[in-house]
């Protein structure tokens, strides 16, 4: 009993302190009931129906573009001190290849990264090799290499600042950044 009173007192104090001593906000005024929804448009109102359809299509297109953009920028990861594309990431790169061929104005910069376990300077070369490996994979699938830039950050830009296996696995990666033609992405057929 005493304990709960004390808790209540503390809670009250905390509220008072938290609100800077001001009065608690007043109860909201009861709102008037929402106006009834407008009657559905008559079925013969074709202009309105077209507008709604256009809006729905635009939403779908935006959603598809979002998925396409996400596929295009999805990173791939690497085994320790390895620059070979893992088989699990081949589908990822194949989707990128199809997207790049459906969007011929898109340019992508591939940046290779390494975890902190390896040597600082060697990691710059390793990151470069990782980015180059993804580029070669995309070229082999028919993407023009001139649209793909290769850069490396070594271990200088970790995605996860941790110092454990999970962080390292995340940091051994290629990032894909669209540098041109990224608006109005279309999905591959």
């Amino acid at each position: 009993m005493r304990a709960s009173s004390l808790l209540m007192l503390l809670a009250t104090t905390a509220v008072a302190v938290g609100c800077g001593g001001k009065k608690p906000p007043e109860e909201p005024e009861p709102q008037p009931a929402p106006a009834p929804a407008p009657a559905p448009a008559p079925p013969d109102d074709s202009a309105e129906r077209e507008r709604l359809e256009r809006e729905a299509m635009a939403r779908e297109a935006a959603e598809r573009a979002r998925v396409v953009a996400a596929d295009l920028s999805a990173m791939i990861n690497f085994d320790y001190d390895q620059a070979a594309v893992r088989s699990a990431d081949e589908a990822n790169l194949d989707r990128k290849s199809a997207i790049l061929q459906a969007n011929p104005n898109v340019r992508v910069t591939i940046s290779g990264h390494a975890d902190e376990r390896g040597s600082d300077e060697y990691n710059l070369a390793l990151g470069n090799r990782r980015a180059a490996a993804a580029k070669r994979h995309l070229q082999n699938k028919g993407v023009d290499g001139a649209r793909l830039d290769v850069v490396s950050y070594g271990e200088e830009r970790p995605l996860n600042p941790g110092h454990d296996e999970a962080a390292w696995a995340q940091n051994r990666r290629d990032d894909f950044q669209v540098t041109a033609g990224g608006s109005n992405l279309v999905a591959p057929q």
Binding site: D81, R117, S119, D120, A125, N128, K135, G145, V150, V151
Partner: protein
């Protein structure tokens, strides 16, 4: 109680000099200092000559700097004479009997001289002055004062051992993306590159007047050469596209080697520094990496890292790129990655680090016999750089919990920290800095 203490004090005072000396030696060789270090030689303090630096009236700062420099040279047992010491003053004669009892081989004495100090090295066994010289010294407030005192230390080491010390040298290193310079005794920290850009892999020119490094931009980077005295930047030919890393000057200063990374891999090039032209390709990687070139002191060979056999290992080639062969032996598929070689100033060894049990450890490979010697065993130890004497190495270690700079004496295994602010990496140690090279801060 008081009487007991007095008796104890008297007992300590009456201890033979040998005991005092052993006590000091034991204090120096603490397990904490040598933690994580394994060397091929047993540490035998008795093999080093004992040395006393006498107090010099009005010269406390000079004495303190010199005493620490001689201690850091790891060539002497530093002995304390306490109040028993006597200075020879103008006569240059001291009571050699005291120092014979202490088993000191040398006594260093300072006296005031017009415009500077006179330093004397006494040979205790011969009961005479072995060497003495008047050194000009700027006022202690002068920016060049400490380096001048370091030169006195190095000369005293030369008088005593025949080999100059390494106190008049400096190191470059990277902290938070900036390159800093610091004296070999951890004083006079100075930033050389601006905040907000990532600068990596500083490398001294042999004459100490400039340094090369990589400016890492958006995943690309050029190699630039920066003058210490003016701060002026000079881009290295062939490094203004893609990514260019691990620069190294040739000993004659005419050539700079670097590694160029693009989508075909990473390869070593050299460019003429004096003519500012003509990048020459030394390796052909074909999707492998070749990097971290380091010249032999005669400039005729280059040790480097290559992934031609899969994992990075240390190779050697002629300075024109011919005669490429393995330098540091490894077992294919079993030996860990080996990186960051640096050729010793005497040409005998190449230091590098190798992955052992998922950490990095320092190794030496002797160039003639290709035998390996592991220098460290606990924690992560990497990116070593040679002191001008070829027996000390500065390296990066996480033994304190964060990556900081440490110095190991290859002969004794003694380790000390080079105190720098925060996490530090990629050190590069200068050669001995002459007066013309050691420009004051711009």
């Amino acid at each position: 109680m008081t009487r007991t203490l007095a008796c104890l004090a008297a007992l300590i005072a009456s201890l033979p000099a040998t005991s005092l000396r052993l006590a000091e030696a034991a204090a120096q060789d603490t397990s904490r200092v040598n933690e994580g270090v394994r060397v091929g030689l047993e540490y035998q303090p008795g093999l080093r000559p004992g040395l006393v630096v006498l107090p010099g009236p009005g010269l406390d700062s000079v004495r303190a700097i010199v005493r620490r420099d001689l201690d850091y040279s790891d060539r002497f047992e530093m002995l304390d004479a306490g109040t028993a010491s006597t200075s020879g003053g103008a006569t240059g004669t001291i009571n050699y009997g005291i120092y014979k009892l202490m088993q000191a081989a040398f006594v260093v004495e300072f006296g005031a001289a017009p415009g500077g100090v006179i330093a004397r090295l006494h040979d205790v066994a011969a009961s005479r002055v072995r060497s003495q010289q008047v050194f000009a010294l700027p006022p202690a407030s002068d920016a060049g004062f400490r380096l001048e005192v370091h030169r006195i230390s190095d000369e005293i080491a030369r008088w005593a051992t025949g080999t100059a010390g390494i106190a008049a040298s400096r190191l470059l290193f990277v902290s938070g993306g900036r390159i800093y310079r610091i004296d070999s005794d951890g004083v006079d920290l100075f930033p050389l590159t601006p905040a907000g850009q990532t600068s990596l892999s500083p490398a001294w020119s042999a004459d100490g007047r400039q340094f090369a490094y990589t400016q890492l931009g958006e995943g690309r980077g050029g190699v630039v050469i920066q003058s210490f005295s003016t701060g002026a930047l000079l881009p290295v030919p062939g490094t203004q596209s893609a990514l260019n890393i691990t620069p190294a000057f040739s000993p004659d200063g005419k050539t700079i080697a670097y590694a160029h990374s693009d989508e075909t891999g990473t390869d070593i090039f050299t460019a003429s520094y004096s003519d500012r032209c003509c990048a020459q390709r030394l390796t052909v990687g074909r999707y492998a990496d070749n990097l971290s070139a380091t010249f032999s002191p005669d400039g005729r060979r280059i040790a480097f890292v290559s992934t031609r056999a899969g994992s990075p290992q240390v190779y050697v080639m002629a300075a024109d790129g011919t005669d490429q062969e393995l330098l540091a032996p490894f077992d294919f598929g079993a030996t860990g990655a080996s990186n960051a070689p640096e050729w010793s100033p005497d040409g005998a060894n190449v230091v590098f680090h190798r992955e052992v049990d998922r950490s990095q450890q320092l190794f030496l490979v002797d160039v003639a016999g290709r035998r390996l010697r592991q220098m460290t065993s606990a924690g992560r130890n990497e990116d070593a750089t040679w002191a001008p004497d070829g027996r000390h190495l500065a390296f990066v270690s996480d033994r304190s919990g964060i990556r900081q700079l440490w110095i190991i004496d290859v002969e004794t295994g003694r380790v000390r920290q080079l105190h720098t602010p925060g996490a530090s990496r990629l050190p590069s140690w200068s050669r001995r800095l002459g007066r013309t090279a050691a420009a004051s801060n711009p």
